[in-house]
């Protein structure tokens, strides 16, 4: 979400501390995913002051069978930065989806999206990622 491990750690700690305080006061919300929603808003708040990328039309390509090989050549932090530069709520959608910890209903809940909107963001995200991969690694590494 943030593309910056230091900021992510701060958000993580602030979220947990606030949760602990609310738990001590007996004010924990009943909804099960409130902690993740809270963390999401804190992340968005923390990234507000960052330099925002210029809004521009990214190229989009269909996912290819070679995409997995292209992805292998990426560094994890490169992907983290790419996702953190996506505009929200697409950023939230991609981050939550590729964490592979939530089902789509939970993502809809946390990101406060409708199914068709989440679907569009994910589909668009894949195509943009593929275009970025094509630009970055035009020739997939041969095994």
């Amino acid at each position: 979400m943030l593309g910056d491990s230091r900021k992510a750690h701060e958000v993580f700690h602030t979220t947990l501390r606030e949760a602990a305080v609310r738990a001590a006061q007996g004010e924990l919300p009943r909804e099960p995913l409130w902690l993740f929603r809270d963390a999401r808003w804190r992340s968005l708040e923390a990234s507000k002051t960052d330099l925002q990328p210029e809004p521009l039309e990214l190229d989009e390509h269909d996912a290819t069978p070679e995409a997995a090989l292209q992805i292998e050549q990426l560094e994890p932090t490169q992907l983290a930065i790419w996702i953190s530069n996506a505009p929200d709520p697409q950023r939230t959608a991609l981050a939550l989806f590729y964490l592979d910890e939530f089902d789509y209903c939970e993502i809809l809940d946390i990101a406060e999206l409708k199914l068709n909107v989440l679907s569009r963001y994910l589909s668009q995200g894949r195509r943009q990622l593929q275009a970025w991969l094509d630009a970055k690694h035009p020739e997939p590494r041969q095994i």
Binding site: H9, A80, F97, D100, Y104, N116, L118
Partner: protein, 257 residues
């Protein structure tokens, strides 16, 4: 995704299809994935998503954050103490219900332990004893033992004999009546402690018709009355008084069995 023939919602679901198969709990998602499983586009999408998710797993987590996700529990839940368990309303309700059921069962079991053939009739006759007034009986002035002959000669009741322990007591009234099952009951009122004596047919086996014997004296209780019952020659003898067992004990030849 070029998955023609799929409904718009199913196409939307496919775009959100879980990366691992564990996320297929949702029925509509399962159905959409099942329909598109063979499509090349969907296979590409799944491979793409798996590769990205694998890369995401490799994103380094700062050690100070990672230590929060150790195998140990983040927070140890409060332990269930006996006090807590007992105070739980559900546990309390179940415990009370079990106690009541157990109490009723024990009560019934104890009641059955004292049962013997004819005990039901004996209890009914204790009720009769409680409601009997001396004027309801034919007045007599003789020893109780001699009334056996009266019962035989006048009413044809064989073996309606008063045991020797009570044969010498003065009788002040007697009668013969039928209960609701048309069994003929002999009743004697004794002067001794206002005791009443009942003679009634012993219970029989419903199949064979054989008399159900039981040894010695047996006690029955009903509404403040106590009776001691003994069976002899197919006839039960019961001596009853308002009071407790220990008031009857001195009159009985053998201890209770």
């Amino acid at each position: 995704m070029k998955t023609f023939g799929l409904l718009r919602r199913q196409r939307a679901l496919l775009n959100c299809a879980p990366i691992s198969q564990d996320g297929l709990a949702d029925r509509s998602m399962r159905s959409a994935v099942y329909r598109a499983a063979a499509s090349a586009d969907f296979v590409n999408q799944q491979n793409f998503d798996r590769a990205i998710a694998e890369l995401v797993r490799r994103i380094p987590i700062p050690p100070e954050t990672a230590e929060w996700f150790s195998e140990k529990d983040l927070a140890v839940g409060s332990k269930w103490t006996w006090k807590k368990i007992v105070r739980n309303p559900a546990v309390l309700a179940i415990s009370i219900a079990v106690l009541v059921i157990a109490g009723v069962s024990v009560f019934q079991l104890l009641g059955r332990l004292h049962d013997f053939p004819g005990s039901t009739t004996a209890r009914k006759l204790l009720g009769v004893a409680a409601s009997t007034r001396p004027v309801m009986l034919d007045p007599v002035n003789t020893e109780a033992g001699t009334l056996s002959d009266l019962f035989f000669m006048k009413h044809g009741l064989e073996h309606y004999d008063v045991p020797v322990e009570f044969a010498d007591f003065q009788a002040i009234g007697c009668r013969v009546f039928e209960d609701e099952e048309s069994r003929r009951i002999a009743q004697i009122w004794l002067a001794e402690k206002r005791m009443q004596v009942f003679l009634f047919p012993a219970e029989r086996d419903t199949k064979t018709g054989a008399v159900l014997h039981f040894p010695g004296w047996r006690y029955v209780h009903q509404e403040g009355w106590v009776g001691a019952v003994r069976e002899y020659s197919g006839v039960c003898f019961m001596v009853a008084l308002r009071g407790r067992e220990k008031e009857l004990e001195p009159y009985l030849s053998k201890p209770k069995e």
